[in-house]
């Protein structure tokens, strides 16, 4: 009886997690836009504006190019689904999620990679040069960001003893220390997060100039509900990376496995606080630097790859690093 109750509670927590990430993603986006505007001495759109934008887009008629294929129509749903599943796997307010063992950090990286694979393909679908620019640049950035992410995963996994996210979160909660390899991994993860979410200095999420487009160029032909799903997926990806950094490197406040409702409520509160803090720091960094030339980004991502490689190398050499 207790076992069944535990199972139901676990499923409820997992379902709550899935709904939570869905609900919070546009809020994080709206918050970052508002803070950015304020830092630039503008008033900025309301914090809840992304919700209204998504609702408006969903209700609109979708206009497709004459030669858009079935892949073009199906891809937004698949991109949204893979990003949502990936975001729902990261522990946010509690570590003992029921289906946490279904996919570990490597699988999470690969799920995000699948979404990117599909996005790059649809950029090539309509046969315009803008889509080609977006896809080829995106795959260049991915060819460095993904190995950097994998090396960072290796570093954290060698410290925590597992690639399972809940195990990592529990380990960090119990043994919070300053370690060189974790410092290197944290710096690398911040760089990868900036690159993957198409933020300044890698890509400008608010631009429509050809010279500066990467992510926007791939989705240029989308409209209506398809565009809504893709924008939602981008917001979910930002939430995923901020949650990942919070879960791995700033885990205080997460409710450990088997904790009660009070601990989970506290976990939820700290999680929302961490989200806002992360968003604020991201926007602060964005307003301080200029966007890089496209061919300086590989050097930027190469730094993340080197940091990950250095961290893994140090841990291979000696476990006390």
């Amino acid at each position: 009886m207790v076992v069944i109750l535990d199972l139901i509670l676990g499923l409820v927590v997992q379902g709550l997690q899935m709904v939570l990430v869905l609900a919070l993603a546009p809020l994080l986006l709206g918050f970052t836009r508002k803070v950015k505007a304020r830092l630039l001495r503008r008033r900025g759109p309301p914090v809840l504006q992304p919700y209204r934008d998504l609702l408006k887009l969903i209700r609109k008629e979708a206009v497709l190019a004459q030669n858009a294929s079935w892949l073009f129509r199906a891809a937004p749903y698949l991109i949204f689904a893979t990003t949502w599943v990936a975001a729902a796997l990261v522990p946010t307010f509690a570590t003992g999620l029921s289906f946490n063992w279904a996919a570990d950090l490597i699988a999470l990286t690969a799920l995000v990679g699948s979404a990117r694979f599909l996005l790059a393909l649809v950029g090539m679908d309509v046969g315009t040069s803008f889509g080609g620019i977006g896809s080829s640049r995106e795959m260049l950035f991915a060819s460095l960001a993904e190995p950097a992410m994998i090396m960072i995963v290796f570093t954290v996994a060698l410290v925590a003893g597992s690639t399972q996210l809940s195990a990592i979160a529990n380990f960090m909660l119990d043994n919070a220390t300053l370690r060189v390899s974790l410092g290197l991994a944290a710096t690398g993860l911040v760089i990868v997060a900036v690159a993957e979410n198409a933020r300044i200095p890698v890509d400008n999420p608010a631009t429509h100039l050809e010279l500066t487009m990467v992510h926007e160029a791939m989705v240029l032909e989308y409209s209506g509900r398809h565009l809504a799903l893709i924008e939602f997926a981008a917001a979910l990806k930002l939430l995923l990376y901020v949650s990942l950094i919070a879960c791995m490197f700033v885990p205080w406040g997460i409710a450990p496995a088997g904790a009660g409702i009070g601990a989970m409520a506290w976990g939820l509160l700290t999680y929302v606080g961490k989200l806002f803090a992360g968003g604020f720091l991201l926007v602060l960094a964005e307003t301080s630097v200029a966007k890089m030339r496209v061919f300086r980004v590989p050097a930027f991502l190469g730094i993340a790859l080197m940091l990950g490689l250095l961290g893994t190398l140090l841990l291979f050499v000696s476990r006390s690093f």
Binding site: I58, R59, A62, V63, L64, A65, N67, S69, Y77, L78, A81, W84, F99, A102, A103, D104, I106, A107, A110, L111, G113, F117, A120, L121, M124, G127, T128, S129, F130, G132, I133, S135, S136, R137, M139, L140, S143, L144, A145, E146, P147, I150, M151, F154, L158, G161, S162, T163, Q164, A167, H208, L220, E221, R225, L229, F295, T312, L313, F316, V317
Partner: protein, 669 residues
């Protein structure tokens, strides 16, 4: 019993080859019959292998035939390793034969293909079944020669002739290396049967390893011995390319495993460092070269080189773990390598079948002349997309599972005490991750330029869908890719007897784990559930579709492309394969290929077009093979003078040789 059945299947194949040779006047008429017989034989062999691997699992009794060398005869035996590779070979063979039933109708020179194709299948099967060195080498040469004949099927094309020439050179070199390796393994007693080699004393095991790397590695495609692969694999007809890339390279891996893991005895600590280092370089070089190609089949061939690198990383790690006595991690690394063998044969064959279908429909291999095929060949496009997603290691397909297992094996490596391994394994892990990301970029390019966008030529516009047999073969393999991705535990359990036999340990049984996850080491450490990932993604996507279509809008309108308000009707303005790869070529290619771009602009007022030239150099060919060829030519030049000596000079040569031999005899007692 399965061994006898397998040998009967091979006999049927050889008989079919003979029949095709005799009836080559009417080759076009009997083409379907020959391929159907090959399909049936391959299925029988596949079943024999499955029965052995799943039910018998141990070593069968050898079948000794009174052919071959008079004092040993020819030994054939099935054990767990041979059964697994029999399955791999014949699954690929069955798929290729099924594909060829439809594809073979478009063959312009069937009399040059049909006699050699069954013999090629027979040769590959005999290599796997062989239990003594002589039959192994005989079957290996049969395999090489028949595939060489198939590469030269369209011999009027000078590129194909060059490919055949390089191929026969490298194949002969490989067989020589293997001959020397078996000679060393037979040792002083001269026992050529594998049983005698296992029991005998080891002579120079390090040299045997290097010879095996040269021989089997060149056939598999390890850098720097891979130069023949991107020339020969595209030159052959597409079903043969699928077999060469997907299956023959795996037979070479089988040869390597048999020699190094089984016959050569206990490994030394430094062997794995060499293998892992070579494998890492192979991965990165293979995928970077693939990215620079715009010929679809050559891209796929270079990609095979990368996947062979991934397989050898797993095998090298297994060797490292077993050299230090850690048998459980060795089993995991070995299973990862073998699982990638199986997965790669599936999706590489699928991709070659797709390129064969495209070749049939459009007579084009160059991606720069294709485009928009997703509209005219939708089913081929779907199967090809599944192959692209599988080879890019995307969950929930099968490529991800073997790569995940390899990463988990790398994560176990800090327990290895050797310092060389401590430094090399993280570097190779980074190279593996880099090549996986570049592979995804490569296949976005391949699928995007070939199938998506607008048609770049009349041939691409007027393409039609392929025939049903080819489509059935492609969809069967695509289905197997998905199955191996969502039920990996079953395949890992099927591989357990192989690891048990060679390394003395195997991975924990996966079939009884709840929800069909795979847990390679322990629950708390890592696990992966392909089925659940697949179900979650599918359910979320369907839920999104339902919710949006019911509560929001499902209206759709078609219009011209937006393209920021300036759509260009000319399909030449869209991205080509070279332009897609340009950023990556600029970042990586400048160092690895000395890639240089040169723009020649006409002077102002001149109405001619500007010219962009991209030069790439194959540094391995330039630094290793070209000087070697020049040295051999120089030596041959010098030695040619021996043809034109006078009679007195010939007599003095004979006299000098006689005197020096007598001197040697007198001094060396």
């Amino acid at each position: 019993m399965p061994t006898a059945v397998a040998l009967c299947g091979v006999a049927v194949l050889l008989g079919t080859a003979g029949l095709a040779l005799v009836a080559r006047g009417r080759a076009a008429a009997i083409s379907k019959l020959v391929y159907a017989v090959c399909l049936a034989a391959a299925v029988v062999l596949l079943l024999a292998g499955c029965v052995h691997l799943i039910f018998i699992q141990g070593r069968a009794e050898p079948v000794v035939l009174p052919i071959g060398l008079p004092w040993i005869g020819a030994h054939f035996r099935l054990d767990a390793l041979a059964a697994f590779f029999l399955i791999v070979v014949n699954l690929g063979a069955a798929g290729a034969s099924l594909f060829a039933i439809g594809y073979g109708e478009h063959e312009t020179a069937p009399e040059r293909v049909l006699p050699f194709y069954p013999a090629f299948l027979a040769g590959m099967n005999l290599v796997v079944l062989a239990d003594d060195a002589f039959s192994f080498l005989f079957a290996w040469e049969l395999m090489s020669l028949t595939s060489w004949a198939l590469v030269l099927a369209h011999h009027r094309d000078p590129d194909n002739r060059h490919a055949g020439y390089v191929y026969i050179l490298m194949a002969s070199f490989g067989t020589l290396a293997l001959l020397l390796a078996f000679g060393l393994l037979a040792g002083g007693s001269g026992g050529y049967a594998f049983d005698q080699m296992r029991e005998g004393a080891r002579v120079l095991p390090a040299l045997v390893l290097i010879l095996a790397l040269l021989g089997a590695g060149s056939k598999a495609g390890l850098v720097p011995l891979h130069v023949w692969l991107p020339l020969a694999h595209p030159a052959a007809p597409s079903h043969v390319s699928a077999l060469m890339s997907g299956v023959m390279t795996k037979v070479a891996v089988y040869g390597f495993i048999r020699i190094v893991f089984d016959l050569n005895g206990a490994p030394a600590w430094w062997w794995s460092i060499l293998i892992i280092a070579l494998a890492g370089i192979t991965c990165v070089m293979g995928v970077l070269s693939a990215l620079m190609q715009h010929d679809l089949k050559r891209l796929l061939a270079y990609h095979t080189v990368e996947n062979i690198g991934i397989i050898f990383i797993g095998l090298g790690l297994a060797l490292a773990f077993s050299a230090h006595g850690l048998s459980a991690p060795a089993a995991m690394a070995f299973t990862a390598g073998l699982l990638h063998v199986f997965n790669h044969s599936l999706f590489k064959s699928l991709l070659f079948f797709g390129s064969g279908a495209i070749l049939n429909a459009t007579a084009e291999r160059d991606m720069e002349h294709l485009g928009g095929l997703i509209h005219t060949m939708p089913l081929t496009a779907f199967a090809f997309l599944t192959g692209c997603a599988a080879i890019s290691a995307l969950p929930p397909l099968n490529g991800f599972v073997s790569e995940w297992l390899t990463f988990q094996a790398i994560l176990l490596s800090p327990t290895l005490p050797s310092w060389g391994l401590k430094l090399i394994v993280p570097a190779v892990g980074a190279m593996l991750a880099l090549s996986a990301a570049l592979a995804a970029a490569c296949f976005v390019k391949a699928f995007g330029v070939t199938f998506l966008g607008r048609a770049r030529s009349v041939a691409a516009q007027s393409a039609t869908e392929t025939d049903r047999c080819s489509l059935t073969a492609m969809f069967a393999f695509a289905g197997l890719c998905l199955l191996a991705g969502i039920l990996p535990g079953l395949f890992i359990d099927a591989l357990a007897p192989v690891a048990q036999r060679l390394l003395g340990a195997s991975m924990p049984t996966q079939s009884f784990i709840p929800w069909l996850s795979i847990v390679p080491i322990a629950e708390s450490r890592s696990s992966y559930n392909g089925l659940l990932v697949f179900v979650f993604v599918g359910v979320s996507a369907l839920a999104a579709v339902q919710v949006i279509h019911r509560y929001a809008s499902r209206e759709l309108r078609r219009g011209p492309a937006w393209d920021c308000g300036f759509p260009d009707p000319d399909p030449a303005t869209q991205y080509t394969a070279d332009s897609f790869a340009q950023p990556i070529r600029r970042v990586f290619g400048a160092v690895v290929f000395r890639a240089r771009e040169r723009v020649e602009m006409p002077p102002p007022g001149d109405a001619h077009a500007a010219r962009l030239t991209v030069t790439l150099r194959d540094l391995i060919w330039d630094t290793l093979y070209a000087p070697l060829a020049r040295a051999i030519a120089l030596a041959a030049e010098k030695l040619n003078r021996l043809q034109f000596l006078t009679i007195r000079q010939y007599l003095s040569l004979v006299f000098a040789a006689l005197v020096s031999l007598l001197l040697v005899l007198s001094i060396w007692s």
